[in-house]
């Protein structure tokens, strides 16, 4: 099945002994000039790349307090060394968060600190060479920016900040990553990561409306570019057709329908994802975010709601107000933006949604906290709402829910292995190995409680699990969208009664 060794799931999780160089060969495709230039980056590696890289490093240290403080503060205590899913899955020591940071830190020390300038050997400082650049390219594309290390670091050092800076430096010298930069280009040109143009999107949504009507007998609408709608829904483009994503989109539509809230998607902002974050580029992240502001203004909506997507929710919750605010033209009674889970859970609390939980009885479920939702954002008005709210929704529409072990959920959740701009086939070995800790935790609840399905609220997690579950002996279809569960169990009050003509196609789940 694979031309690499798939990690073995054990009885109990262990901290593996390190093995140097096991992932030194892992490196994603480099962006071509046509992908670099629309983002404002040089097309190929500059002749004077060293000078440019050092200059960029200095510039970023002056612009980001996080980078400056984190490069200075590490004491090499080792607290983070066993916290990264990529280390646990690959045993490559350069995948330990501190060692990954040190790839950048050793160059920072050499060029920017007294000790590194005069006593490089003593403090582990090193010149920037081609080998170092290759190491950067390889290992800063083995970090999914999941922030698990930052939870456990006594100074909160966040490797995500370091890897974002490293990627920005590499973009600045002309060595960008194909996957991320090509996708950002598509967003600028067409409006979404998949390059789905407006007519195709409209077609797809009409198809979904027909399917839902066939299935439920209710004309649930999936509107596009409707001016004057109350809510603008911004969702990852995977929701428009891939399984199990689309089942989630169907669920959002049913929630809006049942609650009587008018809503619309936008062809201009037909993508929640913002890969500008992955490459650490404030400018690109801002440009991607501005589409949402413009769409909201053009459509005259009162609220902005985001669909199920992890990093998109980080950008939306934590950065959107900064990047594209202020949103004083929206209804001040609602937070800007809102997560679809906040909206759904609010409606459940108000008694506006009713469920027949038994319709999900064919599944025993567990919930995967997506890293960016868990450690870089919030839902609701209390810290930790991002853990409580999705679980409340699941429990409202399912009878069988079991959490994975405590050290693998909530703020300690393991990344799916495909986040941070790594969800590309040229990194499949890394993705499979990085999924190991999550698979190990899943195995526990499968064995203890007979769990059959894994719920996620992130497009990247869903795609990643659909690909990697089979490597560990699980069914690729066992990954489900949270709003798919909502969709299965929601009782639409205007649905035809059971004795109507639709009787025979009611139970095809």
């Amino acid at each position: 099945m694979a031309d690499f060794e798939v990690p073995v799931l054990r009885e109990y999780p262990i901290i593996p002994k390190l093995k140097e160089g096991t992932m030194a060969h892992s490196s994603p495709y480099v962006a071509k000039a046509v992908m670099q230039e629309p983002l404002g980056f040089p097309g190929e590696l500059l002749d004077n790349w060293k000078e440019v890289a050092i200059e960029k490093m200095g510039e970023l240290c002056g612009k980001y307090r996080s980078l400056q403080v984190y490069l200075d503060s590490c004491v090499k205590c080792g607290a983070c060394t066993d916290k990264c899913h990529y280390y646990l899955g690959t045993t490559d020591p350069k995948n330990m968060p501190v060692a990954r940071q040190d790839l950048l830190r050793k160059v920072y020390r050499r060029y920017f600190t007294f000790a590194g300038k005069y006593f490089p050997k003593l403090v582990g400082a090193a010149d920037l060479t081609e080998e170092v650049l290759d190491d950067w390219y390889s290992y800063f594309h083995q970090c999914s920016q999941c922030r698990r290390c930052s939870v456990f670091c006594p100074y909160g050092i966040d490797t995500a900040e370091i890897s974002m800076a490293a990627r920005e430096i590499m973009d600045a010298v002309g060595k960008g990553q194909k996957y991320c930069n090509e996708i950002i280009g598509k967003v600028f040109k067409i409006g979404n990561n998949l390059g789905l143009p407006e007519p195709a999107l409209r077609d797809t949504l009409e198809g979904i409306e027909e399917d839902v009507e066939d299935d439920t007998g209710v004309k649930v609408r999936y509107p596009l570019d409707e001016k004057g709608a109350e809510v603008l829904l911004v969702t990852p483009s995977a929701d428009f057709f891939a399984e199990p994503h689309v089942d989630g989109l169907i669920g959002y539509g049913k929630v809006f329908h049942e609650a009587g809230i008018s809503w619309t998607l936008s062809s201009k902002a037909s993508e929640a994802a913002n890969f500008g974050m992955f490459i650490g580029s404030y400018e690109n992240m801002r440009r991607v975010s501005m589409r949402i502001r413009e769409a909201a203004l053009e459509l005259g909506v009162k609220r902005i709601v985001f669909g199920e997507c992890g990093h998109a929710w980080r950008v939306a919750y934590s950065f959107l107000n900064t990047l594209a605010g202020p949103f004083d033209f929206l209804d001040p009674r609602y937070p800007v933006p809102q997560h679809i889970c906040e909206l759904t859970n609010g409606l459940i609390k108000e008694g506006k949604l009713k469920f027949d939980k038994s319709l999900n009885d064919d599944m025993k479920l567990t919930f995967h906290d997506s890293c960016n939702v868990a450690r870089a954002s919030r839902m609701g008005d209390k810290p930790g709402g991002q853990f409580v709210i999705p679980r409340e929704i699941i429990k409202a529409c399912c009878n069988h829910f079991y959490d994975m072990p405590a050290d693998t959920i909530h703020e300690s959740t393991y990344c799916c292995g495909g986040g941070g701009g790594l969800l590309t086939d040229d990194l499949m070995e890394l993705r499979v190995k990085g999924a190991m800790p999550r698979m190990q935790a899943l195995k526990t609840v499968v064995e203890e409680h007979g769990v059959t399905n894994l719920v996620a609220i992130c497009a990247i997690c869903k795609s990643q699990f659909a690909k990697t579950l089979p490597y560990y002996g699980f069914d690729m279809n066992s990954i489900v969208s949270l709003h798919q569960l909502v969709s299965n169990a929601i009782i639409l009050s205007d649905a035809p009664k059971d004795d109507d003509e639709n009787d025979d196609d009611g139970d095809d789940a």
Binding site: R65, C77, P154, Y317, S318
Partner: protein, 246 residues
């Protein structure tokens, strides 16, 4: 004034200036570098007082480290709080008359040195015994521990084994503070102890010891989780925005 006294007078003045000025520059740099985005590691406090409490727990209990690794926490805690008590005890050599609470805590400060040393040795042992920590250790990480262990052992030597003329030592430091240098005893233990302290003061602002001020400036720990309620905009980001609108 003897040559040795003269040397140590110069060393202590120089080290103090380097420590204070170096740290001030570093702290000014941290404080003046903007944090353009809200990046608290969540769940995070939603109020400023919540953030103060979070940092308090971090600095006083090493909360994150406790979550991470009980051994490092134990050794780190023994070392840091042992050292704190030892340092507070040392206030008696810089105050005249000695403050009552400093006088009262002398025995605690004396025996805390054992905790300090045990913590340091534990941390050092990990650098040899745990393969992951061995991999990330640079020579300077070992040297730093050697320096601290050296300071602890020479200090304990004077407290518990071979006393120095402590009245004279106090005279020396009070003299330094009053800018009228007094003679320093010349026991080798004392000179080694003070020499290593000087070295530590000098490397502080140019080494990983910057984690001490760093923790207070760490955006993942010191930011309030309120991005939806309050717009957060760094000066350079604001300039970027206004440049576009023009």
């Amino acid at each position: 004034m003897s040559l040795v006294t003269g040397l140590y007078v110069v060393l202590f003045y120089a080290a103090t200036v380097l420590l204070v000025v170096g740290l001030a520059f570093r702290i000014k740099k941290y404080a003046s570098t903007p944090a353009p985005l809200k990046i608290p590691t969540t769940p995070a406090p939603t109020t400023q007082s919540g953030v103060v409490l979070r940092l308090f727990r971090e600095v006083v209990f090493f909360e994150s480290l406790f979550k991470s690794n009980k051994w490092i926490w134990l050794f780190g805690y023994l070392f840091h709080f042992g050292m704190l008590l030892v340092l507070l005890r040392h206030l008696r050599y810089f105050t005249d008359p000695v403050w009552t609470w400093v006088a009262l805590m002398q025995p605690f400060g004396k025996y805390a040195s054992f905790a300090m040393l045990a913590g340091l040795l534990g941390l050092w042992a990990r650098r040899f015994l745990v393969d992951r920590v061995r991999y990330i250790s640079a020579p300077s990480d070992h040297l730093m521990l050697a320096l601290l262990v050296g300071i602890a052992i020479t200090g304990m030597g004077m407290t518990f084994v071979a006393h120095t003329d402590i009245v004279m030592v106090k005279g020396f430091f009070l003299g330094l503070m009053r800018f009228s240098p007094q003679p320093l005893p010349t026991d080798p233990l004392l000179l080694a102890h003070l020499g290593m302290v000087v070295a530590l003061m000098i490397v502080f602002p140019i080494s990983k010891l910057l984690h001490a001020p760093g923790v207070f400036f760490s955006p993942s720990r010191n930011q309030v989780d309120n991005p939806r309620e309050k717009r957060h905009l760094a000066p350079w980001a604001a300039r970027l925005e206004s440049g576009e609108q023009r």
